[in-house]
Amino acid sequence: MDDAMPDNKNAAIDIRDLRVDYGEFLAVNDVTLQVPQGEVFGLVGPNGAGKTSTFRVLATLMEPTYGEVKLAGVDIQEHQEQARRLIGYMPDLAPVPSDLKVWEFLDMFAESHGIQSAKARRARVDECLEQVQMLDARGKFCKELSRGQTQRVVLAKTLLHNPKVLILDEPASGMDPLSRRQLRLVLRQLASEGATVIVSSHILGELAEMCTSLCVMNGGRLLASGTVDEVRRELGRQERVLGVVVRERVDEAAVWLGARSFIKEVTISERRLAFHFEGDEADQASLLKELLSEGFEVLAYEEQKSSFEDILVKIAEGGR
């Protein structure tokens, strides 16, 4: 998989041979990955896959065992301070200081990032709060916010200095559907303006909608990467499930299919039969021919795509 990654010198995120260990536990295993500028890139995987470790290394919060990471061409280990100016990092379950008001929290970071004038800071803080639709809450104490509101405020903080690389660990957790939609729009807008976003989520359907490309990680390794469809194809090719809709003789068709050695787990739902099929596309075509020759009136015959959730559950269970 790693060899297949293009050697993109203009990659906004360029990770090579990244390894992270916690004692004898290997969290990230020689990961190589490039994300071009302007992408919204998703990192998917079950708990313990190595996503958060990868993100913490990218955010310069953790020193890897070894490996090279460049963000917008800046080596994050050699030029840590410079790299930090490029990064907008939002951790999982993003915390906020309980003793500050929303605007005070953002104002502090706006100033840290060099916005000196109070007027300019106020304008920038309001702009970012507006972007995440939290302007109404600017005078509230952070401790009064709900989980979703907190996520949005931290996202606004992440956007303050117009980072070139946004690293968002589970940004949508706790957000209501409207906020999630807003998050999608914000990320797309940022990407269209040239920022590169790398985002992880457990809401996989959400990630599929949000990202232009993604990769799947498990056991510290990258399993697949590409567009959403490419990844689904790559990981789902062993999971071919066919569906047949017959006009009548449904039970008879189920028995006939069940008798085939290359067909397993036939299920019936009204006139629809679904079953696991082992074979390639030619085998799939001959099965249709046989069904027709047996006199079954086939109304529909199709390959059912495995859902992302199904794929990931199987990856997690199978330890692939």
Partner: protein, 539 residues
């Protein structure tokens, strides 16, 4: 420097100076300070029949106690607890990522977290200023005392900040920083009486003592001034300093060391507090100060605690310290050296996972071994270098004591150096091997059952009956940390031990030190094997 331009400082100005909390604290402080101020002055004026100028001075020290509680105790606790709280909430990572320099971040927290305490402190200053002006206290006197008061507060706050970055529990961080200050003001002055003055200069006592005559009521002040005529300026080898300059010098050095620790933690949360070369440098610096302060005190006998009693009892001219006192200060120097070594070696010894990571990185980079100055490298070479330096310093101190006019009948033979070195080798290298090879839990258990329990048992057995003293000595010498106490009486010829233990002490000392040398060797081999295992795992 524009403090308000520091975003972290400003953040705490906002959160800790909100009127709700601040007004309540301010009211309590002002009521308490006002009460103390008026009570001390007016009672002296109207009940004590003291002259006005002297009565004004009566309130100076009670006010200073209140200021000390605010700034030293509450301020330090707030810094330690506040930074731990930020780490606990998770917001500290945001600050790590902000593009401020580590020094800016350190200063922001150092002055921001206790900003309310600073304000409360300054709110009490008008009362003190009234006392100084009306009491005609010279500016040079109260100015230098308050300069050191403030530099001490900053030092303690920085210690609290360091503790807060190391200790994960907010309450423990708060309590340990309180304990540190209590220790500094109660135990350390006793250590200073044995010539180890350095620790005293981390407090406000020396400068306060120096300026006491000007700040006390005049008659009392004059008495103190006469007493002070007999005291000397502080020396570092042949150099003489005023108390103010030397205190600033000592505190400045500690501020630099602690600042380095905090900045390292800002750069990488998992960094050791000090690098290996930094720890070695700090040890040499501390030893230079300990030795530099103590050696000039030997000639006049000021290194011996009984000298101050002799002065009080007015037998100063016929003063002569007992040899046991000489032995005692030599032991004290050895114990302090050992404690410093254990603390610094613990600081630079890598945990197993850090070491494993370093080995993997070195292999990946094609290096033959982990670079020796990095956190992941084994600390044994550095521990050896530091303990050797410590043994030399200890030997020099002991040799100078015995070569002085006080003890013409005693000398320290050359093998004293070897004995001191072996004692430190056994105490420090066994400790190091266990920490590096088996981790914190193992060293805790070892420290408890091998280091402390034999010592406690030895005390208990020793008080049962004189007949048990021999057993007590043997039990105590089982602890690797008892060597610093047993070595001086054993290696100094003519050291008269009580007859009941005169035979047991050298025998127990030599026997146990030999056993410990063997244990040390075994542990060293085991540690090598551990490192080889880690190297194998890394591939």
């Amino acid at each position: 420097m524009n403090w308000l331009a520091n975003p972290i400082f400003r953040r705490y100005c906002r959160s800790r100076l909100r009127p709700n909390g601040l007004i309540a604290w301010l009211l309590v402080t002002l009521v308490l300070t006002g009460f103390t101020f008026f009570l001390a002055r007016l009672s002296a004026m109207h009940r004590g029949g003291v002259l006005s100028v002297d009565a004004e001075r009566m309130a100076i020290f009670p006010l200073m106690v209140i200021q000390g509680i605010i700034l030293f105790f509450l301020g330090t606790g707030q810094v330690a607890g506040g930074i731990t709280g930020e780490a606990d909430e998770g917001v500290l990572d945001y600050q790590r990522l902000s593009p401020l320099t580590p020094v800016q971040k350190m200063l922001g927290y150092l002055f921001g977290l206790p900003v309310r305490e600073w304000l409360l402190f300054f709110s009490t200053m008008p009362f003190s200023l009234w006392c100084f002006v009306q009491g005609k206290v010279p500016f040079a006197a109260w100015g230098s005392v308050y300069l050191i008061f403030i530099s001490s507060a900053i030092l303690y706050h920085l210690t609290g900040l360091t503790a807060g970055l190391v200790i994960r529990n907010k309450r423990w961080a708060f309590l340990s920083s309180m304990a540190m200050i209590l220790l500094l003001y109660t135990v350390m002055p006793q250590v200073a009486k044995m010539g180890l003055l350095f620790f005293d200069y981390l407090t406000i006592w020396p400068v306060l003592d120096e300026n006491l005559p000007s700040m006390l009521p005049r008659v009392t002040g004059e008495v103190v001034r006469v007493v002070q005529l007999f005291s000397k300026k502080v020396s570092l080898f042949n150099l003489q300093f005023s108390e103010l300059v030397f205190t600033l010098f000592c505190q400045g050095g500690m501020l630099l060391a602690l600042g380095t620790m905090v900045c390292r933690r800002w750069r990488r949360a998992e960094s050791h507090l000090l690098g290996k070369s930094g720890a070695a440098l700090l040890f040499v610096w501390l030893q230079t100060f300990l030795l530099g302060n103590a050696l000039p005190l030997i000639k006049e006998g000021d290194v011996f605690p009984s000298k101050s009693f002799a002065f009080v009892l007015r037998n100063n001219k016929t003063y002569e310290p007992d040899f046991s006192e000489g032995l005692f200060v030599i032991i004290a120097y050895g114990v302090v050296t050992m404690v410093l070594l254990l603390a610094l070696v613990y600081m630079i010894t890598p945990a197993a996972d850090v070491q494993l990571r370093g080995i993997r990185r070195a292999k990946k980079l094609g290096l033959p071994r982990v670079p020796i100055a990095t956190d992941a490298a084994s600390a044994w070479m550095w521990a050896m270098a530091m303990l050797s330096a410590g043994a030399v310093a200890w030997y020099l101190f002991a040799e100078r004591i015995l070569a002085s006019d006080w003890f013409p009948d005693h000398t320290l033979p050359w093998y004293g150096l070897l004995a001191f070195w072996v004692v430190l080798l056994n105490a420090v290298m066994i400790f190091h091997a266990i920490v590096e090879g088996w981790g914190n839990r193992a060293i805790f258990l070892f420290g408890l059952f091998v280091g402390v329990v034999p010592l406690l048992l030895s005390f208990v057995v020793g008080v049962v009956a004189d007949g048990w003293l021999t057993t007590s000595v043997w039990l105590g010498s089982l602890s690797p940390w008892s060597g610093a106490v047993l070595a001086p009486p054993v290696v100094i010829p003519g050291a008269e031990l009580p007859s009941s233990v005169a035979r047991a002490v050298p025998r127990a000392f030599y026997f146990c030190q030999c056993i410990m040398l063997i244990v040390n060797g075994v542990l060293w081999i085991k540690l090598r094997q551990k490192l080889q295992q880690r190297s194998a795992i890394a591939t």
